[in-house]
């Protein structure tokens, strides 16, 4: 037991660090892009004051197209683009670009549906007060949708952890890669079990934190 810990602890530590790094960086970029996309969709959708059929349909289609591509295909399909953007297509840096491209449209959809849940009456009340649209987006829509957005991002974070496992295929490292390389390819089943247990703990933890945070923000 002690020897197992001595042997594997640095490797697990490294893998956990890589997973967290990949998830955190790609989540940050995806949320940023996702929020912007969601706001564009919300503002330009038919029936809204800034409705614009062309812009709405363009982004709607773009999101659907990207979301249709399986991540494993996206990963390889994007290799040249990744290399162009970050200078390498392997390792943590190499994984982040496809992870963002994968997660941003997904997060955009989740945030869009959270924003659609915001009471239209409140938005109208603020319009009637003569408050600017961009102020309404920040102070009414995003504010009121916060609990729903937190829950949505919890879901997105967890599926991002799943996606990082696949990113192992382009040599990104992380827990998923560890389980695959040692556990699956080298039949070191105890490594696989430990990895899976670690992932369960992480996923459970993130979901609990998300639930609690959302509940605290929700005031009804």
């Amino acid at each position: 037991m002690q020897s197992f810990i001595d042997q594997w602890l640095p490797i697990f530590y490294e893998a956990i660090k890589d997973t967290f790094l990949m998830v955190a960086i790609s989540l940050a970029f995806s949320v940023l892009i996702g929020i912007i996309l969601a706001i564009i969709l919300i503002l330009t959708r038919p029936g809204q004051p800034l409705q614009n059929k062309f812009v709405y349909q363009f982004f709607n289609l773009l999101i659907n197209v990207i979301r249709s591509i399986p991540f494993i295909i996206l990963l390889f399909f994007m290799l040249p683009f990744t290399k162009f953007v970050v200078g390498t297509s392997i390792g943590v840096e190499g994984a982040i670009v496809p992870l963002v491209v994968n997660a941003a449209p997904y997060i955009a959809r989740l945030i869009e549906s959270s924003l659609l849940e915001v009471n239209q009456g409140v938005i109208e009340a603020y319009r009637a007060m003569g408050i600017k649209t961009h102020q309404i987006i920040w102070n009414v829509m995003l504010r009121e949708a916060r609990p729903a957005i937190v829950l949505a991002l919890t879901i997105a974070t967890i599926s991002l952890i799943g996606a990082t496992a696949m990113a192992g295929l382009v040599g990104a490292g992380g827990l998923g890669d560890l389980a695959y390389r040692f556990g699956h390819l080298r039949y070191e089943t105890d490594v696989m079990y430990v990895t899976v247990i670690l992932l369960i703990i992480i996923v459970q933890g993130i979901q609990s934190i998300g639930n609690r945070l959302a509940a605290r923000m929700k005031k009804d």
């Binding site: 409140v122 009340a125 009637a128 007060m129 600017k132 102020q135 102070n139 009804d220």
Partner: protein
């Protein structure tokens, strides 16, 4: 007979105060020939408003009443251009809103407060923040915000709830917060979109009293829409009746309560009190004498007119229903009476009553 005397006797302590009414002649809100057509995909356009003209004088409270789908909601949303009229003009304090740029319109909207049926408060913000956030966004200096929030929370009597969230408040309290939010921007006009429709009768009354107070003390002009006649009765100076997008009748509240012309208006009046008797009953009673509705107004209600009828014309009045309605600016008495006597006597007594300024409507004549 005694019964009639009691009802007709004017009780002075029930008269709403008039002293604070600053009814000016200047028009604060004016819709001029406003038409709103909603295009529909199937080619059948819906005309929600058809050539409607209304004018609300500064400092008055005007009400628009109609059934759901009549177009009253579209009408009030046209006032601050939440809905852009297809035709016609909208004036607020002498400014034609339909001609303003987006930016100017946004600024002008700040003069027009609005309250809603479902309150439309931020769920995630406290009572204090619900009022403070719009003030901050509208550029009120930080140092003045706290002072203003407290000032208007005091007016709506909710200071002690300032740290509560809307979910912890009752419907009436939420509406008070919404009213404080609207007032805190110190508007000249308050639009009320069915503000009491989601409230129980008692809470409705307290909100109506608050609106009266705001109108009297702050001099804010109020335009409200409602489907409840008691809202009109209690606070409106002037009424518009709207049906199928058309303005079918308008007049001062007293006029409307004493001389309603349109069947729809009469239907609305029937909701206030049990005014309607069954045709069968009326026809049966009519065999002997006449069944009439007498509507009294103001000073006339102080006179025991029916006693005089008995004394002078030997007509026996039998009261079928009677009620008294307190309007904002006066009292209207309403009696349905079966006048028993010979035709000549009945006619004489009716013309006597008419001379005394009583509105007479004979029932059971088609």
């Amino acid at each position: 007979m005694n019964c009639a005397d009691i009802i007709l006797k004017r009780t002075d302590d029930n008269i709403p105060p008039l002293k604070n009414r600053k009814a000016g002649r200047t028009s604060m809100i004016k819709l001029e020939n406003v038409t709103k057509i909603f295009p529909s995909k199937k080619g059948k356009d819906v005309t929600a408003l058809d050539n409607v003209t209304i004018s609300v004088n500064k400092g008055e409270i005007h009400g628009v009443i109609g059934y759901s789908g009549a177009g009253k909601s579209t009408l009030i949303r046209c006032v601050n251009l939440l809905e852009t009229p297809s035709k016609g003009k909208v004036w607020i304090d002498g400014i034609d809103l339909t001609k303003l740029s987006k930016e100017k319109l946004r600024q002008t909207r700040q003069k027009v407060g609005m309250i809603f049926q479902h309150f439309n408060l931020l769920k995630t913000a406290t009572v204090y923040d619900n009022i403070a956030i719009p003030l901050k966004l509208l550029g009120v200096p930080k140092s003045k915000i706290a002072e203003r929030v407290v000032k208007y929370l005091e007016i709506v009597d909710l200071v002690e709830k300032k740290d509560s969230y809307p979910a912890q408040l009752s419907g009436g309290q939420k509406q008070r917060v919404a009213i404080a939010r609207a007032l805190s921007q110190e508007p000249q006009v308050l639009l009320s979109d069915e503000a009491t429709s989601a409230l129980d009768p008692e809470t409705t009354n307290s909100i109506l009293e608050l609106l009266l107070k705001i109108n009297a003390e702050l001099g804010i002009t109020i335009l409200l829409i409602t489907h409840e006649m008691n809202v009109i009765q209690k606070i409106c100076d002037y009424v518009y009746v709207i049906e199928n997008g058309n303005l079918i009748e308008q007049g001062s509240t007293i006029e409307l309560f004493t001389k309603p012309k349109q069947p729809t208006t009469k239907k609305f009046l029937n909701t206030i009190s049990q005014r309607k008797l069954s045709d069968r009953l009326v026809n049966e009673l009519k065999l002997e004498g006449k069944v009439v509705r007498l509507t009294f107004l103001g000073e006339n209600t102080g006179q025991p007119l029916l006693s005089k009828v008995t004394q002078q014309f030997y007509v026996e009045p039998n009261i079928l229903t009677a009620n008294i309605i307190e309007l904002k600016n006066g009292i209207v008495g309403n009696i349905v009476v079966h006048l028993i006597g010979n035709d000549h006597q009945v006619e004489q007594s009716l013309s006597f009553l008419q001379e005394q300024g009583v509105e007479i409507e004979e029932l059971g004549v088609n």
